[in-house]
Amino acid sequence: MLNLFRAEWHKVTGNRWVAGCMIWIFPIGAFGFVLVIGAILALSSTFRESFTEEPTRWTDQAVAVWELPNDPTIGRLILVGFTAVVFAGEYQWGTWKSVVPRNRRLALILTKFFTVGVFVIVAFVVMSIILALGSWPLVAMAGGTYGPKPTGEVIRDFLGEYALQAATSFTAVMIAAGYAALAAMLTRSILGGIVAGVIITAAEGFSILALFIVGSLFDVPRLVLLYRFTPTYNLLNVTSWLRSNEPNAINFENIAGTNIYYSDTLLFSLVMLAMWMISLIALTSGLFQRQDITS
């Protein structure tokens, strides 16, 4: 398995454009961001004043990074693209025919998912470190204070919050990656994988609206309950439980004369998310097992 992973690692890092524009762009972007802010701080006294209006905390800087992979406009799109390249690239380069006889198809696909996950974690952890450390001289330039002091308690709390944010974002990314991988395997094309992956991810986010409209049109208000089974809802619910210790309740008033309210336990959402991840990986693997490699 380690050899397979190293093979995948070489494929990604050797493809400099893909690795640069879809993975290393996050830490490089963070470094560039620090440099640009530093330059502005050096040149603008107004900016220096506004920069220190709110206290800057390294803990917040590090945790905030993990919101980026969930951002549907840039972060999610880039990571869907990255996944599509990892999975559909083999069709484009015609390399499946050299790879498939050398190992089991299931192992090949699972390693690809694992590789995507590792790259996402490495990229965003490095990005967190760059932003957390890079903000230190920026705050110093602006004359502010950079806290909190890294005591045992602060680090414990930080690690807990960091792990929570990273885990929820990572789960969201892996589900989007699952869509992209499935689409890439079906279309056998990088572009097809990206387009279909983005459409499915967006459609899933907007599914509540679609269910609401269809439910109202056909007088089946309870149709909106299907939203409970989507990754988007369950990710929100998990975040709500972990942050506020309460569910992310959904309340629809007067849909075709019916009020619909629902909330779910943390366990329900964790199980649903796990099922989504496993199902998407299983579906992609199953599809690949049956697929004829003709190119």
């Binding site: 050899n3 397979l4 190293r6 093979a7 070489h10 494929k11 050797g14 493809n15 400099r16 454009w17 380069w93 015609g94 390399t95 499946w96 025919k97 050299s98 790879v99 498939v100 006889p101 050398r102 190992n103 089991r104 198809r105 090949l108 049956r290 004829d292 490699i293 003709t294």
Partner: protein, 308 residues
């Protein structure tokens, strides 16, 4: 000939598409290839050669029938493919990686990374100097050489090579032919060679199968197939009388200054005796062994005529 069967197929079928668009690419192929042989697989474009090879490598699932490598069903026991090295329909590599890195990726994929072996193979195929260059800058011939190195990475017992000399210059082709023959003769490897270069197949293969429209038309040892179709070129006078005499016993084709008699090399004395006994002056009798190309064209051509 070894008793071990390297490749066996039982009624291998492959259909593509459905309904009216259904194409029968392979129709009930039965093969049995003994270990240690160089086996040629001939056929015109679209005959089903590559589809058969892809089924042997578990790249394509048969619609019916089974493929066995060293007695193990390929689809059920994928691990048996570790004994196989393959080059399918032109070598394909990661264009952004160097030649050496491509070999490393492929050997790691097979869990058999050995840097020294990679270097030795690069040396063997003449690419050691260009090993650090990205594959996208390689010529077709260089990619083909790298493909051969990739096929040999894990020292396989069976090599499945689909048009291995494509893109190579004449000296490169000669080298590869020698290399293939040597693999069987020196190292006891089995080679399954698909090629449209019939001269190449005739030079290196022990046995051949001719496939056309998804079916095997002929199969056998190269020398047996060609000896059954050998001819004698007879120069004699009077030519028309000679033709009349020989016609009873052998099929004859008359040309302006000679006859072509469909008879084996062993029948030469009988032909001469028959002519001399009938007062025909014989100037020259030479055995015209049919080439594999001529044989192939006669087999495939007959099939085409039959279809028409």
């Amino acid at each position: 000939m070894s008793d071990t069967i390297a490749i066996r197929t039982d009624g291998l079928h492959k259909n593509f598409g459905r309904g009216k668009k259904r194409v029968q690419a392979v129709r009930g192929i039965n093969l049995e290839i003994h270990a240690g042989q160089v086996y040629g697989f001939l056929g015109p474009n679209g005959a089903g050669k590559t589809t058969t090879i892809r089924m042997l490598l578990d790249l394509i699932h048969p619609s019916a029938g089974k493929a066995y490598i060293y007695g193990q069903e390929v689809h059920q026991r994928h691990g048996v493919l570790r004994r196989v090295g393959a080059l399918v329909e032109g070598a394909a590599f990661y264009p952004f990686l160097s030649g050496r890195r491509n070999l490393e990726v492929l050997s790691r994929t097979g869990n058999q990374y050995d840097r020294a072996r990679i270097d030795a193979l690069l040396q063997q195929v003449g690419l050691l100097d260009r090993a650090k260059q990205r594959v996208k800058g390689y010529s077709t011939g260089m990619k083909q050489r790298l493909g051969l190195a990739a096929a040999l990475l894990h020292d396989p017992d069976l090599l499945i090579l689909d048009e291995p000399t494509n893109g190579l210059d004449p000296s490169g082709m000669h080298e590869i032919r020698f290399f293939i023959r040597n693999l069987a003769d020196q190292f006891g490897k089995t080679v399954f060679l698909s090629s449209h270069l019939l001269g190449e197949v005739e030079q290196v293969c022990d046995r051949v199968a001719i496939i056309h429209k998804g079916e095997i038309l002929r199969e056998g040892a190269v020398k047996d197939l060609l000896s059954t179709e050998s001819q004698l070129r007879v120069e004699a006078t009077p030519l028309d009388k000679a033709a009349e005499i020989l016609h009873d016993q052998w099929p004859i084709a008359t040309n302006t200054d000679h006859l072509m008699v469909k008879a084996s090399h062993e029948e030469t004395p009988f032909v001469i005796r028959r002519l001399v006994e009938n007062q025909i002056d014989v100037y020259e009798v030479s055995s015209q062994r049919q080439t594999l190309e001529e044989y192939f064209l006669s087999v495939v051509g007959a099939e085409v005529k039959q279809d028409a």
